[in-house]
Amino acid sequence: MFWIAWKMLIGNRAKYLGIVFGVVFAALLIAQQASIFCGLMSLTISQIYDTAGPDIWVMDENVQFVDDIKPLSDTELFRVKGVPGVDWAVRFYKGIARARLEEGTYEQMILLGLDDATLVGAPQQVFLGSIADLRRPDAVIIDDAGYKRIWPGEPFQLGRTFEMNDRRAVIVGVTKASRTFQSFPIIYTRYSQAVLFAPPERKVLSFVLADAQPGLDPEEVCRRIEERTGLQAVTQEQFTWKTIWYYLKKTGIPVNFGITVFLGFLVGTAIAGQTFYLFTVENIRQFGALKAMGTSNWMILFMVLSQAIQVGVVGYGVGVGMAALFGFWSRTATRLSFFMPWQVLAITGAAVFVIVLLASLLSVRKVLVVDPAIVFRGG
């Protein structure tokens, strides 16, 4: 009987394509918008992941996300180091600096200061120059996107200089870095150097990066750090979620995307629902004939549901496929960030399921109440 339902469905090519189109439309819009949303969210946490090495981030207890800098006094480093279970702890500076270029123009930059001795959190993908050169006076490493932003169209060249806080900075390396939400150039330097580049402030220590001793649970060590120092300590993963939650709760971003996703859902449901309804009404005599010949209402219900699930699966596949193609294209052709984790696929799948369910429930009632005696009426 499911086979008959399937034949009925694809037998009417135009209606079938209409229903599938509705589902494809919804799936495409939902998956694509959700992926762009996830892409944006991943931008907000890219700096946490780019800072390789530490398990644990220690910061002021009021810090809400990675760009929310509330400086600590330098002595906090030693208090963190003294907490049992902490393997090592280093300083980390993160701030915004204003750079004056040779041409006399100014540019905002994200300034990262790494522990002088260990360079923990150093860039991972330096492709020109070397990390070791950071130890030279005034040395900085810049990210490639930032370099192109400052000097568009010019080849990468070591030794170029600019000024921050009236101090000379010399580029000794270029690295790849994940894009950030603010999309400013990223400058890596030593902590002691960063303090000089930064606008003068009473307290400058942004974060203490630490690691738990081998065999210890980082979350447990975080708890101990918080207990002993009154600071906030979180694991890398906790910090990413904290940051994402902040953007979700405190910015209009989710609402904007939510509206688009919801519209896609509504329009998809409307198109699919209406076409499915027309399809069912058109086939009402066929369903009536099947009922007259002894098909139970349950079976009719399952047949209609199987038709709905069939268009759902096809529409989902095509829609999500198109969204993925879009993402593939946008990655190379635009600055749009596109990230499609499995959660996006799951949410889109759930939305499509609800759409086809609504679409079929709208029409199935019609079929269930149809009087099998209609088949005797002329036609």
């Binding site: 034949k7 037998g11 005599r285 010949m293 002894g294 139970s296």
Partner: protein, 247 residues
């Protein structure tokens, strides 16, 4: 079709259809229609009964009730020894599936299925495997002279051929009651005649009953008896000729 010629005498002394005092009203208040106003009817096994009468007199309503697709407002309906009035909806569905074959004026074939697949539908409803059902349906279609059109869609068949597919579908599961509503009215004289001959040959069996609603006086000759209806009542029941008159 294997049991087609087996004589079943368990019901020889019973009526296949026994209708007493059946009324049917549609709508209510000002728009109330009395489609049936107290119908009594018996159809013995082994008989083809024709139901004739002017348009709107209640023929379709009556056969719908007998076939179990419509509830009477009042009265008794016994079909193949079952009391249809007392039967639950679910059991009535199964009763139709197992015991009733339908032939409609409008054929009501599924346009997306081929001839042989359409003919197999009652077996599929009964839960047969598709391959097996299609094999049996192909046999029946061959007997009806459509062996070369098994894979045709209804839209590729003439009206007469479509009605033959519908006959195959009505008989493939060997129902003991066959109900036909105007099976020939959409067909020309020759096809109408062929259709009635086929119905008579394969459906009129000692353990079965056939009811044919018709306007078509050209096919009266196939009837064992003819019941004339008028305004919701059966006016008269007369014997029809047992053999078709030679053309």
């Amino acid at each position: 079709m294997a049991r087609l010629h087996v004589y079943d005498d368990r019901h020889a002394d019973e009526m296949a259809v026994r209708v007493r005092g059946v009324t049917k009203e549609f709508g209510s208040g000002g728009s109330l229609t009395q489609a049936l106003r107290g119908v009594d009817l018996d159809v013995p096994y082994g008989e083809m009964l024709m139901l004739v009468g002017p348009s709107g007199c209640g023929k379709t309503t009556l056969v719908s009730i007998v076939a179990g697709t419509l509830e009477p407002t009042d009265g008794e309906v016994q079909v193949l020894g079952h009391d249809l009035v007392a039967m639950s909806n679910g059991r009535k569905v199964r009763f139709r599936r197992d015991n009733v074959g339908f032939i409609f004026q409008a054929y009501n074939l599924l346009p997306a299925l081929t001839a042989v697949e359409n003919a197999a539908v009652p077996l599929l409803i009964a839960g047969w495997r598709r391959g097996h059902a299609v094999e049996v349906a192909a046999d029946v279609l061959e007997r009806l002279g459509l062996g070369d059109r098994l894979a045709s869609l209804p839209s590729e068949l003439s009206g007469g051929q479509q009605q033959r597919v519908a006959i195959a579908r009505a008989l493939v599961h060997e129902p003991r009651l066959l109900v036909c509503d105007e099976p020939t009215s959409a067909l020309d004289a020759a096809n109408g005649r062929i259709t009635m001959e086929l119905i008579q040959q394969v459906a009129v069996q000692p353990d079965r009953a056939v009811i044919v609603v018709t306007h078509d006086s050209r096919v009266y000759s196939f009837a064992d008896r003819i019941a004339a209806m008028e305004d919701g009542r059966i006016e008269s029941v007369g014997s029809g000729p047992h053999e078709p008159t030679p053309a």
